[in-house]
Symmetry: C2
Subunit: 382 residues, 2 copies
């Protein structure tokens, strides 16, 4: 484990570096090397090494789940769930969150320099959720963590949690996939494809070589983010928050300015995203999500995927989530039941849509606290 | 009424031209002149002039509702509803469909030449649904049609139908708004804004002056169309039609080609759209839809809008339409009831989503036939 400076150059990240002796095997064939994994930890690993919790992040998040991101001062993205006295109690657990493979917050991705000294760009291999999980497993091994007490995550983080229980069935004691699916729907692939096409339509994308050429496909990436953001919120939440309210004006302008608050909000979402995210990373990570299909990898039968898993599960969905609707969660639960796994299922009544897992949802907090307490008892961590 | 050649130069459209003596007043202030309205008719106006049916088209449609578009050989877009023996029976009714104001199939819009000889571009005034309807009223007057037996349309066409009953309460005998809303939701404004931003992000948009500069924002418009198209179909229909099927390959490519059929389908939707639609028209027409808000124009009370209307209504929605969900239709029905209007409401059970109104929906055909027959009896047209 080393701690060293990564972009921006004057700021320290926790990173683990894997050299040519530790190549990462990839689902698409071949290996990736060298590999850097950026991560954060909170709390202390107990002497018996049984209290590790892996937090898996969503598409555009990073390793700064429980503390602020020092590179851009963005606050932690899950402080309501992780911290002293929270469901993921940093006084009791050793909590790890790493930037995913293909990401852009320190872990090797398309914006990283390849061995030839130039950014990988589109030469970076197309990766899968299983590749991300395999990289996390390498990190955990390097940190001396043999088994996970718990793997938890929402959205793409939930996909990683599921993949952990499938690929490392003896290493996960408890699994909490939230607002996620065992495979990406056609509609979700469609939204991702719109985002990718928006990025690739931007002439500043330069066939993926924008970094070498000193430009960035900011407009295309902003459009991609705007389209995606609509899927993260429910129609009810948009209506409650914005409705048809006008933005700082009394009447419509009869022009193409952002007359409506929802327009202004979306433009802000797009513009602020491009400052913190790499466009090629967006292509690679959305692709990994599109490829995610646990049943396909197990003779078309999802329950086969979980046959060897020894984990106890808590599956959480939100009633107004149309990105990963409750039906996706129930499909996972049915398969877990068929595989004989121990599983609780909670559909939380919320009008906030998919993003609810990141927001103030007391019922989710209570659900996570209760499940974690019971699991800790079962693991002898109480 | 004149018949003359319009772009492409060698093809005849039906057009009505209005000179400086007939300026079109606009909601945004001022007037538009000169004005050309492209239209098609089928059937014959009866001697008492009581059998006219106005068909109002949706965002990306045109006047070729019941016959093929001679400029691009696209088939009629509503042949299942309009024609001999159909619900809108061209043996009985005089059917008119005109390209909307701001459109790009012959009616004056941002791609038309302004009086200074250059395309209007962004100098074209921002228009509203009421402006579109006012232009249609001018066309009907010029055609010698004093009153409408029926106004019918889906989606944006339904908005025009509603506006007709509000602005010309004595001129519409029967109104059939299908899969539409009395005002555009925040989510729908959001999707439109994404589309507009995609167009305007394309450097070939040239601040709206692309026509003078010999280019077109094809990539941006394609992305806009792709995003919009997702909203026109239900998740169930996407799942049934595409699911996660791969496009002409046995396994995923580990690349950014269109691996999935849904990707290939969307790319085709985007690419074929740019050949038939003007990007600035897309901006103006989506803006008109966003501005549509009948309650706001009537002290915030939708039923006030319908107080003077003498029309009988048939409101149609589709169960899986999430673009204009059944709740939007029920809102219209409640307001019509409160205004004392005669109204039938049919929610058709369909998994095809918003586009169902353009597809083979026998229950819709039966609904329209029944309503038209009863209305014809009431009007003495039987």
């Amino acid at each position: 484990m080393t701690k060293r400076a990564i972009r921006p150059a004057d700021f320290p990240f926790n990173v683990m570096e894997f050299g040519p002796d530790k190549p990462l095997p990839l689902d698409g064939g071949g290996t990736l090397s060298p590999l850097t994994i950026a991560y954060e930890t909170w709390g202390t690993l107990n002497p018996s090494r049984t209290n590790a919790v892996l937090v898996c992040h969503a598409l555009t998040m990073d390793q700064f789940a429980a503390g602020p991101n020092p590179t851009n001062n963005k606050p932690a993205w899950w402080p309501t769930v992780i911290g002293p006295g929270k469901a993921i109690d940093t006084d009791r657990y050793f909590v790890i969150c790493s930037n995913v493979l293909g990401g852009c917050m320190g872990t090797t991705g398309p914006a990283s320099l390849s061995p030839d000294g130039a950014p990988w760009g589109l030469r970076f291999p197309v990766i899968t959720i299983a590749d991300m999980v395999r990289a996390q497993a390498m990190l955990l091994e390097a940190l001396g963590v043999d088994t996970l007490f718990c793997a938890i995550g929402g959205s793409m983080g939930g996909m990683q949690v599921l993949q952990w229980t499938v690929d490392y069935p003896d290493k996960v004691f408890a699994a909490i996939p939230i607002a996620t699916a065992a495979r990406h729907s056609a509609q979700n692939i469609a939204f991702h494809e719109v985002g990718r096409q928006a990025v690739m339509a931007d002439p500043d994308w330069r066939e993926g070589n924008y970094l070498s050429q000193g430009v960035r496909p900011a407009k295309g990436l902003a459009v991609a983010r705007m389209a995606a953001h609509i899927t993260y919120v429910s129609e009810a939440a948009l209506h409650r928050k914005f409705g048809r309210s006008l933005q700082a004006r009394e009447a419509v302008s009869f022009g193409f300015d952002a007359d409506f608050q929802i327009e202004s909000f979306l433009r802000h979402q797009g513009a602020s995203f491009v400052d913190r995210f790499d466009a090629n990373s967006y292509l690679y990570i959305t692709r990994a999500m599109d490829y995610f299909d646990l049943p396909a990898a197990h003779d078309g039968v999802l329950s086969n995927a979980f046959k060897k898993s020894n984990a106890r599960f808590c599956v959480v969905t939100f009633s107004s989530d149309w990105h990963y609707p409750p039906s996706d969660g129930r499909t996972i639960v049915r398969a877990l039941n068929a595989a004989g796994a121990e599983v609780s299922y909670v559909e939380i009544d919320s009008d906030k849509g998919h993003d609810a897992f990141l927001l103030n949802e007391p019922e989710m907090f209570k659900t996570l606290e209760g499940f974690m307490r019971a699991a800790a008892n079962a693991r002898g961590l109480a």
